[in-house]
């Protein structure tokens, strides 16, 4: 299995790589082995034939008697019987002093004249293939040549079939070994597969730590992952605590200043101070909300979104009793996202909708295979399209009279961006007010 890595780099599979290299080396080994053994067997049998032919040659020489000018003769009792049967596969031919003596087995045929001492694979009688040795002698001052040959086509085909069966055995062996190797590799890499499965679960937020036992080679990696996760979680918790304390420490004095400003007699100064204070307050609120955002962290999991959203809507109905909040949620919601982040998204959007709606707010949360579709719309006045873009920037407000609209939207936008999601503002088709739709990618 190959995966496209994010940068476009092709990732290789360890298993595939091991199996391919093992198969290639095994196949090469078996092939070479088969060739060597086949050749060796053939060479061995030819060597055997060769020495027998040499032996027969010596016998023939001993059986030869010649007293010129008479014809040379062979003593038939000393010639092996196999040379007497026609086309037996064993032949000889002796040339001496212009005479030709041929074995009876040759019948009418002749052995081809050759110069080489040993010649292989030459055509013989009855379509036989012969191995022939020829040797020159000088007998009584006359040159003589004894050619002696044996049919080797049988041995040839025997060797070939031996090689074939050797090859077949090698192929079967190769297959069996590959299956065995595959099993061994699968078994050997099983911890890796388990870790991979756990990492996927981790991404979905189903588990918090990699718990599967790993071989010592990759244990440090697993430990490092776990440690980093813990570190990330601790850091998030610590920073959230610190941010909460900071918010508490900053906002109470701002609240007091606000109360004191109210008593200020100069209306111009008062308005100016109020404005400045409000600016400081918004900045603090916005920045703290951004800093609190966990974003896409492995192990982030919203355990009970139904209950949280339901309670949030209940809360809204208490605060805005004249507005009807309707919810549409997928049944089996398990969302890989930090709960606090998601509550921030829904809280801000539902509160905004409640502030602006005349009588109705609709909220839907639908889980698709790899994304979460969130949509919140109201029947309020909505927002002019030209303002959509600037609203999503931090700290811009659509309307100063009702606090928090723009800031809330900007915070929500920042959170959605931290999850690599998308947020879109539009006019609601059904309710005519503002429609905020978001897509949150899910592993």
């Amino acid at each position: 299995m190959t995966h496209k890595f994010k940068g476009g780099v092709q990732l290789y599979s360890l298993k595939k790589r091991l199996i391919i290299s093992l198969a290639a080396s095994l196949a090469l080994f078996f092939l070479i082995q088969t060739l060597i053994i086949g050749n060796e067997v053939r060479a061995l049998s030819e060597q055997n034939i060769h020495s027998r032919l040499e032996h027969d040659q010596k016998e023939l020489l001993a059986a030869l008697s010649w007293a010129p000018p008479a014809e040379p003769v062979l003593d038939p009792a000393r010639i092996p019987g196999i040379y007497q049967r026609p086309f037996s596969g064993h032949y000889f031919q002796i040339s001496i002093g212009g005479y030709q003596l041929r074995s009876r087995s040759l019948w009418d045929e002749q052995l081809l004249p050759v110069r080489e001492k040993i010649s292989d694979d030459i055509p013989g009688p009855a379509h036989q293939r012969l191995l022939m040795i020829s040797q020159d002698f000088v007998i009584l001052n006359h040159p003589a040549q004894i050619r002696i040959a044996e049919d080797v086509s049988g041995i040839r085909s025997n060797t070939a079939s031996f090689q074939k069966s050797l090859l077949l055995f090698a192929a079967v062996g190769l297959m069996l070994l590959l299956i065995l190797q595959g099993t061994i590799i699968r078994y050997g890499l099983a911890p890796l597969q388990r870790i991979r499965d756990q990492l996927r679960q981790l991404e979905k937020g189903e588990i918090e730590q990699v718990t599967t036992p790993a071989p010592s080679e990759i244990m440090p990696l697993v430990e490092e992952i776990n440690q980093l996760l813990q570190l990330l979680r601790n850091r998030l918790m610590r920073s959230r605590h610190a941010l909460g304390d900071l918010a508490h420490a900053m906002k109470t004095p701002i609240a007091i200043m606000g109360q004191i400003i109210e008593r200020h007699p100069e209306p111009e100064d008062k308005a100016l101070m109020k404005q400045q204070l409000q600016y400081v307050e918004q900045r603090i609120h916005g920045e703290l909300a951004r800093a609190r955002t966990a974003g896409r962290t492995p192990g982030g999991y919203w355990s009970d979104p139904q209950r949280d959203i339901h309670d949030l809507t209940q809360m809204m109905m208490q605060i805005f009793p004249h507005i009807k909040f309707s919810l549409r949620l997928s049944d089996d919601l398990n969302i890989a996202a930090d709960r606090e982040d998601m509550l921030e998204v829904f809280g801000n959007l539902l509160e905004n909708a409640g502030k602006w709606a005349r009588s109705q707010v609709e909220c839907s949360l639908i889980k698709k295979s790899h994304a979460l579709m969130i949509c919140i719309e109201d029947d309020g006045p909505g927002i002019d399209e030209s303002q959509f873009k600037s609203l999503l920037l931090r700290g811009n407000r659509a309307d100063e009279s009702k606090p928090g609209h723009g800031l809330g939207l900007a915070i929500v936008h920042d959170i959605i961006v931290a999850y690599e999601g998308e947020l879109e503002l539009a006019r609601s088709k059904t309710l005519q007010g503002l429609k905020v739709s978001m897509i949150l990618p899910q592993p």
């Binding site: 109470t252 609240a255 204070l277």
Partner: protein, 233 residues
């Protein structure tokens, strides 16, 4: 209206207390969660403002403790952290409303009044009994019948508090001591006959039958008299 304010910052606490008094609340305040928790359990408050970030005892714990008693007084939660999970947590622990610091005093006031009305079972935006409408911002009352529409009648602080309390609980019989507890705060000098004096003042303004006496039990507001009162006046 007896109001309990639990806020750990002394300056904010003092500021809020002052402004709430001006708005006709009988305010008791404390900086300490432990004291606040105890006061909430022992005094008959009509509404409670609770800061969640108390150093000695977390506001949420106090709230959970009260709700398990059970104490049903409406509680408005103040939070400086402004995180939504905290607001949800507050709501689950039994808060009726929340406000994030810093806030405008007007917003706090509007939320408090809405909570009080909701607790009394009123759904309208203002307190109206019969033809009499209570204006909480100006601390006045006016008739909403045709003839005398728009005529505001001024009330003194105690008159306003007493009338508001009785208008929020019409037909409900209160003893003089009960009324004292909801009109005065803990530190006020309370005299037994003071309620009688204010009841008779209110009767003078709106008619004799508006507040009826039930011997040995106490007083109650008669809504029917407020409709008829138009003819009397």
């Amino acid at each position: 209206m007896r109001l309990l304010l639990i806020e750990d910052d002394p300056v904010l606490c003092r500021e809020l207390e002052q402004q709430l008094r001006q708005q006709g609340f009988a305010v008791d305040s404390t900086h300490k969660g432990v004291d606040g928790a105890f006061m909430g359990e022992t005094e008959p408050y009509d509404i409670i403002i609770l800061d969640l970030g108390l150093p000695d005892l977390p506001g949420l714990n106090i709230l959970k403790r009260w709700r398990s008693k059970p104490l049903t007084t409406p509680v408005l939660v103040l939070t400086a952290r402004g995180a939504w999970h905290e607001k949800v947590e507050g709501f689950r622990s039994g808060a009726d409303d929340y406000l994030t610091k810093p806030f405008h005093f007007e917003e706090l006031l509007v939320r408090l009044q809405a909570l009080i009305r909701r607790a009394s079972g009123l759904s309208s935006a203002s307190v109206v009994v019969g033809d009499l409408e209570l204006n909480e911002e100006t601390q006045t009352v006016s008739w909403i019948s045709d003839r005398q529409q728009g005529e505001n009648m001024e009330l003194t602080g105690v008159e306003f508090r007493l009338l508001r309390y009785m208008m929020l609980h019409p037909k409900h019989v209160f003893s003089a001591s009960q009324l004292v507890e909801h009109v005065y705060d803990y530190n006020d000098e309370k005299e037994s006959n003071v309620i009688e004096v204010y009841i008779s003042r209110l009767r003078k303004k709106f008619g004799k039958d508006v507040i009826c006496t039930r011997r040995g039990q106490g007083y109650f507001l008669n809504p029917d008299a407020l409709t008829q009162a138009v003819d009397d006046a």
